[in-house]
């Protein structure tokens, strides 16, 4: 009975979606906020990557909230999972290939992650993408040798708290200058250079470190959670 009603509901939903699709106007005359941003982003923010200028400058508050969501999710995950019992059995070490591969890839992934974070305003990428790669870099050794404690949760919480506070402080600094919260500061520099776009690379660095440390901490928590029999 329940499956029948569910199937009926989905059929109705499918019909509605088809009706909506018929009515979507595909003229796409490009009169939208995005194209307006494309026209002015280079002068207003000095970043060659316009997506970065949207993420950090035009919609900076959304990015701050996104960071807060990750912070909250990691905090709640830690709260829910609790601590591992000291005498709980641990998984055995992984095989030779994974252990050697993890050892080799760890520094490489760190370099790639940092490169993507620091070049976020010039090439595709940025804080979130680079931060996830950093987290993956810290997760590989956990997979290879489950027994080690690579990540100290206290250091993680300190780093993520300070990185988040840095982001908000840079935003508040703009207020002391008489401007609005999260206005980009500092000299815009030359378009396309590594040191350009004012505070945007600094913000992305804070974002990258925060995301990396948070995800690494969360993954470590999930890995440490006792195995389900």
């Amino acid at each position: 009975m329940r499956r029948f009603t569910a199937a009926l509901f989905l059929l109705g939903l499918g019909v509605m979606i088809a009706a909506i699709y018929q009515h979507i106007d595909f003229s796409n005359t490009a009169v939208n906020a995005g194209q307006a941003i494309n026209a002015v982003a280079a002068e207003e923010t000095g970043a060659a990557n316009f997506v970065t200028s949207v993420v950090l400058a035009y919609r900076g508050i959304d990015t701050l909230l996104e960071l807060t969501i990750l912070f909250t999710a990691a905090m709640i995950g830690g709260m829910v999972l609790g601590r591992r019992r000291v005498d709980a059995p641990r998984d055995p070490d992984a095989g030779f290939i994974l252990r050697t591969g993890a050892d080799l890839l760890f520094p490489l992934l760190l370099v790639v992650g940092l490169y993507i974070i620091l070049h976020g305003h010039l090439t595709p990428g940025g804080g979130f993408q680079g931060g996830v790669i950093l987290a993956a870099a810290f997760f590989l050794p956990l997979l290879a040798r489950p027994g080690i404690t690579l990540i100290d949760q206290r250091v993680v919480s300190l780093v993520e708290g300070l990185a988040g506070a840095t982001f908000i402080s840079i935003g508040l600094l703009a207020m002391f200058d008489g401007k609005e919260f999260l206005t980009p500061l500092l000299d815009k520099g030359e378009l396309g250079a590594l040191i350009s776009a004012g505070t945007l690379p600094i913000l992305y660095l804070a974002v990258g470190i925060k995301v990396g440390s948070e995800l690494a901490g969360l993954l470590a928590h999930l890995a440490e959670a006792e195995a389900l029999d």
């Binding site: 009169v31 194209q35 919609r59």
Partner: protein, 488 residues
């Protein structure tokens, strides 16, 4: 005026730094949360007089709308931002093992609530809403019992479903209009959103944002969550957070979606919500779930109020919202000690006479007995509906009145139990002083409003008129028009 952003930024900053502060001094970590909230409430109150003249808009980052994100402050938004901040301060969650995390979560809740009320951009509203949802998960799960984990998980599934639907609705709106700024959407809506695509976007966003507002099909999470979370968290969620979700739907309705079909959908879902909520409350046998179902019913009344076209609907909805804002947290605070089976409440009036008297007062206001404010709020909803002279509205008025009689039945069943002669086998303890004091404070607010009825009604009417004034909204934000034609 620019200080208003501090209502959002300061609590977030404090929440980030709380664990570091705790390392330096535990006392500071316990005290700084309420202090920061006091400061932000003071900032909000200081801005309030400026807004009665005209609403104001701040642009985040100084970028002009619609390129940047707008923070729009009118009295309506500031009222609920202050309600969130002061409510969190009054109902500060206390958890024995997780106090530090609960404090962080409470700070985040206050900051997010203020931001949600004050936001003027569609996607910004979505992100604030998601943040508030995640914070609620934490507050519910902080109880630590297996029941709280299971109910959080169920809430998560329903909420994730709703959030994705809301995102699809936002996609449809952006596809049709090319902007996400609410003021510019208000300008473009009559030509671009008055079709099936616009109506579909409205329904998707209604179901998405309605999860927190306990809308009819997506409110299955309510009884389990309110039964397993601590009473203060339930008070916060039912009392304040649901009103913020309703506020978003109101803004969308006033500014963007003017179709009459939208009002019909709200009316139907509101009627269903009232009917199912009150009938389930009638059958409930424990106090927490009875209050949970009752709040579903009351929120259904608010949805019905919203479906009345024009300023009368906004005024009625505002009156019911403010009334419920004082009423439900007070009842949940009383349920802190009285939670559990209603039969076990026999004779509890002897141990807590003040609590029992307060419960009687709150019940009378909920049912709608004059001269208490609940009566006036329900009157404001029913009178315009009768004036509209349409069958569905007549039916809605009948449903609300029938629900009132059901409320009288189940609430007075509890009152009779409270004042029974023979006490129960295991009598309840008296209420904790802080809980009782807060509940009495809220109840006193209700009683005080009886004496200030006319000026209060005028003030609420002014707030409603300012909120439904679309042209002032567009003028205040003054979005830059998008140039026609391809931009190179």
């Amino acid at each position: 005026m620019n200080l208003l952003v501090l209502m959002i930024a300061l609590p977030l900053l404090t929440a980030f730094l709380l664990s570091s502060i705790n390392r330096l001094s535990t006392f500071a970590a316990r005290v700084i949360g309420p202090l920061v909230l006091l400061a932000t409430a003071a900032i909000g109150l200081s801005v309030w007089p400026q807004l009665s003249a005209a609403p104001q808009a701040i642009q985040w980052g100084g970028f002009q709308a619609p390129l940047g994100i707008t923070l729009y402050a009118d009295q309506f938004a500031l009222l609920f931002a202050l309600a969130m901040t002061i409510g969190t301060l009054l109902l500060w969650p206390r958890s024995t093992e997780n106090q530090l995390r609960s404090s962080s979560l409470a700070l985040l809740l206050a900051g997010t609530g203020s931001g949600l009320a004050l936001s003027g951009d569609l996607f910004n509203i979505y992100v604030f809403y998601e943040l508030m949802t995640v914070v609620s998960y934490g507050l519910i799960a902080s109880r630590g019992t297996s029941g709280s984990f299971a109910s959080t998980l169920r809430y998560l599934v329903i909420s994730g479903f709703g959030a994705a639907l809301a995102l699809a609705g936002i996609a449809l709106v952006y596809q049709a209009t090319g902007t996400l700024n609410l003021a510019q959407l208000a300008q473009l809506a009559p030509e671009k959103l008055n079709n099936l695509q616009g109506f579909a976007a409205f329904v998707l966003m209604l179901v998405g944002f309605g999860v927190k507002a306990e809308l009819f099909p997506v409110n299955m999470w309510v009884p389990e969550v309110y039964a397993t979370a601590s009473s203060r968290v339930s008070a916060l969620l039912a009392g304040v957070v649901s009103k913020l979700a309703l506020l978003i739907i109101m803004r969308l309705l006033i500014l963007v979606f003017h179709q009459p079909e939208a009002l019909t959908v709200l009316l139907v879902l509101g009627i269903l919500g009232v009917a199912t909520g009150e009938l389930a409350a009638w059958r409930a046998r424990d106090l927490n779930r009875m209050l949970a179902f009752s709040s579903i019913g009351q929120l259904g009344v608010m949805f019905i109020a919203l479906s009345i076209p024009g300023n009368a609907g906004i005024f009625a909805a505002l009156a019911v919202m403010v009334h419920h804002l004082f009423l439900k947290p007070s009842m949940f605070l009383l349920a802190e000690r009285w939670g559990g089976s209603i039969k076990a409440l026999a004779g509890a009036a002897k141990t807590s006479p003040v609590g029992a008297a307060l419960f009687v007062l709150l019940s009378l206001s909920l049912i709608g007995v004059p001269p208490l404010p609940g009566f006036w709020a329900k009157l404001l909803v029913i009178m315009p509906m009768l004036a509209l002279d349409q069958p569905l509205y007549y039916f809605a008025a009948f449903v609300i009145l029938a629900a009132a009689s059901l409320e009288a039945n189940y609430l007075f069943r509890v009152v009779m139990k409270l004042y029974e002669k023979e006490p129960a086998a295991t009598p309840h303890n008296a209420h904790a002083t802080l809980d009782l004091a807060t509940a009495v404070f809220l109840g006193a607010g209700l009683v005080a409003s009886v004496f200030m009825l006319v000026p209060l009604a005028d003030r609420l009417d002014g707030i409603a008129v300012q909120a439904s004034d679309v042209s002032t909204y567009i003028q205040t934000v003054a979005p830059q028009p998008l140039e026609a034609g391809r931009v190179q």
